[in-house]
Amino acid sequence: MAEPMKIRATLQGDVADVRVLMAHPMETGQRKDAAGKLVPLHFIQTITGQLNGKTVFTADVSQAVSRNPVFAFKVKGAKAGDKLSVTWQDNTGDKRTDEVVIRAGS
């Protein structure tokens, strides 16, 4: 079910500007389907960002975040060519990791 993320990591000086788009339904557990039944709670709980395998960013996320969310964060001390990976895990245990190479900024 987990579909690919879209990650952009661009260097500005020694700070990498990371923007991540995630494909996720982010169900609040309060919405009802056409048959009137509650759509089960289904949301991303944790997000982890790693720079060359070292964790540099973690976030706990609630069901208040929108469908297909965007997250942005900055990583200090990054270099062009460094590997940046992002992982999310949702409340059903589903997971997705994607990795990009940090690009030099303009």
Partner: protein, 266 residues
């Protein structure tokens, strides 16, 4: 001489009045600009590319041999030059119709299964919608150049024009009822006048589009279908010649203007 000058001034004044942005619309434009920087449509681009490259369907083939008009497998710039005439089917096809055609001929899917639920819902985005998003993104920043060289391309344009102006249905509506006059709107949504080239671009710009309300991806096939529904017309067939004709008319009117890629809608 003096009269000509006065007329000229009047024309300028009218143009200025027509271009004065409505403050609500200006706020939405600002909002859209911010949203465009991280447009979830890109998620569908990624998914669409995967669907384009992966061998799928009963014939277990990829779409990499699909001819979008610039030769088999050429995706770059193809979307900006569609709808166009395809000799193998002897008709004009828009991008999504062509993709559907390729999914049937190359991958062995059936039209019936693709046309069963062709539009996105909260729980499901049909594959052709993701694929057309990927294909459209490969024409980002390019000038629209839907060809009008083949006689069938000119016929299709004329057919599209006739459909656009055709009044019918329980509301005695035509496309022009909303899109043939300047300054119309539905609720807070300003409606472009597609008979004017400078506004016709808005029929193409922003499509395929990610709709924030509901978080679903919609293609132009859906847009045409939904306009039919709002006019209380019978639904046009999915990927049919009718839709291709309408899209020919709208795209050719916008030819020469820059396409900015898949968009975002509120």
């Amino acid at each position: 001489m003096k009269r000509v000058l006065v007329l000229g001034t009047l024309a300028v004044a009218c143009a200025a009045a027509a271009q004065t942005p409505d403050p609500t619309a200006a706020e939405f434009d600002k909002f859209r600009e911010i949203m465009e920087q991280d447009n979830p449509a890109e998620l569908f681009e990624v998914k669409g590319e995967e669907l384009w490259r992966k061998p799928r369907g009963p014939k277990n083939a990829s779409l990499e041999k699909c001819d979008l008009g610039l030769g088999p497998g050429v995706v770059k710039g193809a979307y900006a030059q569609m709808p166009r005439y395809f000799a193998d089917v002897d008709r004009v096809m828009d991008a999504e119709a062509r993709i559907v055609h390729c999914m049937i001929t190359l991958q062995g899917f059936t039209y019936a299964e693709l046309a069963k639920q062709p539009f996105s819902s909260l729980t499901r985005t049909p594959d052709p919608v993701s694929i057309v998003t990927y294909v459209a993104a490969q024409s980002r920043g390019m000038k629209l150049a839907a060809p009008q060289n083949h006689p069938k391309e000119r016929d299709t344009y004329e057919a599209g024009k006739a459909i656009f102006f055709y009044r019918a249905g329980s509301f005695d509506f035509s496309c022009t009822s909303c899109h043939g006059v300047d300054g119309q709107r539905i609720r807070t949504q300003p409606l472009p006048n597609f008979t004017k080239p400078e506004q016709a671009i808005r029929a193409v710009q922003g499509w395929p589009g990610y709709r924030m309300t509901g978080g679903v991806m919609h293609s132009l096939q859906w847009r045409m279908n939904d306009c039919y529904r709002q006019q209380r017309f019978p639904e046009p067939g999915y990927a049919s010649e009718t839709v291709s004709a309408l899209l020919s008319y709208l795209t050719v009117n916008a030819n020469g203007q820059v396409y900015r890629g898949p968009g975002i809608k509120r």
